[in-house]
Amino acid sequence: AQSVTQPDARVTVSEGASLQLRCKYSSSVTPYLFWYVQYPRQGLQLLLKYYSGDPVVQGVNGFEAEFSKSNSSFHLRKASVHWSDSAVYFCAVSIGGGNYKPTFGKGTSLVVHP
């Protein structure tokens, strides 16, 4: 079984500041990892995903995430946030073996002040 913890329910930053949203996972095998974003009144959209290779993976809109096996983490980062990045961000994990049922975290609400 897998689980995901997003320890920060809400993060507030100023426009132009750097950002890190935290995600910790628990899995008995190396999982598939995802970050999704949900803008107001829209469905969740994929930002980026990771399974193997370079532990730093690039996503859309300048987002990147770094996988750490030793820390069981997959933190999301952005060098300079824009007010339009205000949204809810979900981390998700899935294990393989033909049983593709992603488990989501509770989400982190990001508020960017102009």
Binding site: G43, L44, G97, G98, Y100, K101, F104
Partner: protein, 115 residues
């Protein structure tokens, strides 16, 4: 068109009455999912269809039913709504459930309020 549509966007239901939510996608995805999302909680997988095969999660097996009359449509059915069913219901689809790396495409959700 990579959108997943959900109808209605808002649904008001009475306790004890049935509820039927609809989801559609035109991406020819073989897998469609239903999640329940309550405030400050993670989206909870209720069930998914892989092609015509329905898989329901063990802890919600008796509470939700679903049908998929064709590849594009999938419904979520509650036979007798209770107050605890008030939540946002998210529909998603993916290209291939067996592809562990497959991206899920989500609809905007249906907010169900049971009174």
């Amino acid at each position: 068109d990579t959108t997943v549509k959900q109808n209605p966007r808002y649904k008001l239901a009475r306790v004890g009455k049935p509820v039927n939510l609809i989801c559609s996608q035109t991406m020819n995805h073989d897998t469609m999912y239903w999640y329940q999302k309550k405030p400050n909680q993670a989206p909870k997988l209720l069930l998914f269809y892989y092609d015509k095969i329905l898989n329901r999660e063990a802890d919600t097996f008796e509470k939700f039913q679903s049908s998929r009359p064709n590849n594009s449509f999938c419904s979520l059915y509650i036979g007798s709504a209770g107050l605890e069913y008030s939540a946002m219901y998210l529909c998603a689809s993916s290209r291939d459930r067996r592809a562990n790396y497959a991206e899920q495409f989500f609809g905007p959700g249906t907010r169900l309020t049971v009174l």
